[in-house]
Symmetry: C2
Subunit: 435 residues, 2 copies
């Protein structure tokens, strides 16, 4: 296009003008945006009459996606609508029309990233999505740029602020899951329908994106082990603390013998490692490279302004390519030698909380089941006996065991007459001695 | 040059082949380097007969800098010699010869960065120095790329692994400074001459580099307030802990009313903020952006492999420009509206440790001096009385006060007959309530 060149204006179209979109629009129209020659041309909305945090001239606001996707003035399309459709369709159309795209849409990128990256390459434009993981924390860019010479050994992240807020409240206040969720909803940290967060769909989308970039492995979201935080109870935090741990919703991907294991589940984290101390709505991504060693990227993982920070970083990179040529770094080539492993292959220590009949011989029966499946017990805590019901909480910590064996053990233990319920099974995350 | 293009080999020359240089050479000759079309052409050494961690063909090793600086085969020069000269001369010659340069040299960049950046721009090549701060932690790249749309409000960092190791040992083991230093030297974390680290020259170089990139302010190293850790004593850690703090060597730069204040000194850090928990040789950089909010970048701030990770990131970026064109992002424009403030303008709470005569009326005299200079006392701890000498340790915590007043107060208190010595004055770092 003839409007490109060192001093030329770069036209931006926004898909979505909610709180994040308004924040991006504000940044584009601020001195930073103007100094970098960015010009907001149009913003797609559903309801033009709605009050917004940014005051745009009426002619800039449109309900017609074609006004952005077909506009010759628009060089960069910023997608902030969320959800799979029509976002996917609009992103595809923008790329096909030769427009650079930046999106915060973790669902679209985790499910359709491979195809969209190809589409971008075919059309000689960039597809960026720094804001899709970790809000304002630069994490995608370091994986694509700074750490390229590293073989990434593992990723571990607290990557969903809503659940980290809930778990932090439960840990510090002794509150129940329901109360902590209600408080998070009251403060706007959790949605009215909290499924995406508390059932860990959101964290699965994000670890899928990070794993693709870190390991060169395309990880279908349905193949990622996913367990949310609904089962986590107030007493789990109390017992975990006595054992020297806290509980976090962990998203992890790691090279193991024979492949890559990707998983999202609550985990007992030793109280003295950096991740244990990441509280409230903060996010952290731990990246372990063979050269760099362990690195931690920590900050606000959500919110209008942090997301706008990440989106603007993308937009300025795309604008630099429009003006000066060159290319943006590509995702690693797919590594065919690194298959996805099933969760059954995972090996770790386990925290097992049972409600059992408070009578002699109970532990012997449970220990028998575990022993048969080659699971060694590291410690047993009997706690909170309830003499009226004749029941007691029993907490068992195991030595490292295979997930497949542990799941079989849980089924058999659950069937024992002396066991009322297997109340919770939480994996214990292990860290090398030097961290 | 006709050897450029998408598939072309990129020639690399190394200045220095010590532990870091050997690590970079190994990475360049590894599959990662080869897959990216990097070719190590020559490495400059002082003594070719020395044993090294990397085994290079003899014809690749040279004692003649011209063999690298004048070689038409070499597109990128990697400087890892350290020290001001001849590194500065070689970097300047390489840039003038149209070669891209990456360096880990914090002294050269902090003292001569402005001129070298200009020289690079004049010659249409890049000057990169990710490894000069924070070892393997990506911090320069996020400041140059991802956070460009942010106005940076403040930087706070633990940026020298040697001193953080010493302070961590003192905090956890109750050891003296001398013993902790000796242990750090034994482990190779501290040099035989530890001046650069313990007297905080190293941290000053690094915060100068970061401040230039974050704020667009050229900060001459001699204008940065610098205080090392030699005065920090075992009992300071004991008293700090009683008061809820730990002690870190802090490098900070922050927008204040009227300008930018840059300083390096030991500081009391509240025990519950993320920086307080960064232990041993780890580094952390906290960046506060107006959009992104507070971000923490943490990892190994030194060592051959982490440094090689950062250098390789730079090299791969320069190689992409050689192949595909485009430019790398430039440092922010110098902001003439942000003058450097003197340390006398700083305002904070203070921790003051005095050895005083153990007799009535001492506190009244000291409080009188502080009151005259408008310094309010927040708390007083009298500790470790030594009846034989008739002396006692007195620890005073103040409310926020101006540095100029505090320095005057220390002089007057030191002159009081009832005061044996002003044993230490440590600034207390304040954090907003939400961190």
């Amino acid at each position: 296009m003839d409007k490109r060149g060192p001093g030329a204006q770069v036209g931006i179209g926004l898909l979505g003008l909610g709180v994040v979109g308004s924040s991006v629009a504000t940044a584009l129209r601020s001195p930073v945006g103007r100094d970098h020659g960015l010009r907001l041309c149009a913003a797609l909305v559903r309801d033009p009459s709605r009050q917004r945090a940014v005051d745009l001239p009426p002619e800039m606001v449109t309900t017609d996606p074609d006004a952005i996707l077909d506009s010759p003035d628009i060089d960069i399309v910023v997608e902030l609508m969320g959800g799979e459709q029509p976002a996917l369709e609009y992103i595809s159309r923008a790329l096909s029309a030769g427009k650079h795209v930046t999106t915060a849409n973790k669902e679209v990128i985790s499910k359709h990233g491979e195809r969209l990256r190809e589409l971008a390459a075919e059309n000689g434009v960039s597809l960026q999505y720094e804001a899709s993981v970790g809000g304002g924390i630069p994490i995608i860019s370091p994986l694509l740029n700074d750490l390229v010479a590293n073989e990434i050994l593992g990723l571990r992240a607290i990557i969903n602020g809503t659940t980290n807020y809930i778990l932090t409240q439960m840990a510090s206040g002794g509150t129940s899951f329901d109360d902590a969720l209600a408080e998070a909803q009251r403060l706007g940290y959790a949605e009215a329908d909290p499924t995406a967060d508390v059932d860990a769909h959101d964290a699965v989308y994000k670890i899928s994106i990070l794993a693709r970039l870190a390991f060169g492995v395309s990880v279908p979201v349905e193949n990622i082990y996913r367990e949310g935080i609904r089962r986590t109870a107030a007493q789990d935090f109390r017992y975990a603390e006595e054992l020297g741990y806290t509980i976090k919703l962990l998203a992890a991907a790691r090279r193991e013998d024979g492949g890559l294991l990707v998983r999202v589940h609550p985990a007992l984290i030793p109280g003295d490692v950096p991740m244990a101390k990441v509280e409230g709505v903060l996010n952290v991504v731990e990246v372990e490279g063979d050269l760099a060693g362990p690195l931690w990227f920590q900050g606000r993982g959500a919110g209008a302004k942090p997301t706008a920070s990440a989106v603007m970083g993308d937009v300025l990179r795309a604008a630099a390519v429009l003006r000066h040529g060159g290319t943006l770094p590509q995702a690693r080539q797919i590594d065919p030698g690194l298959p996805l492993l099933a969760m059954a292959e995972h090996e770790c220590k386990y925290y097992l909380r049972l409600t059992v009949r408070d009578r002699p011989g109970v532990l012997a029966q449970i220990a028998g089941v575990l022993g048969d499946l080659e699971i060694s017990i590291a410690s047993v805590l009997q706690m909170d006996a309830d003499p009226e019901r004749g029941a007691a909480d029993l907490v068992i910590m195991t030595h490292p065991a295979r997930e497949a064996n542990m799941q079989r053990a849980v089924q058999r233990i659950d069937a024992l007459g002396v066991v009322d319920t297997v109340a919770n099974l939480i994996r214990v995350e292990s860290y090398p001695a030097d961290r």
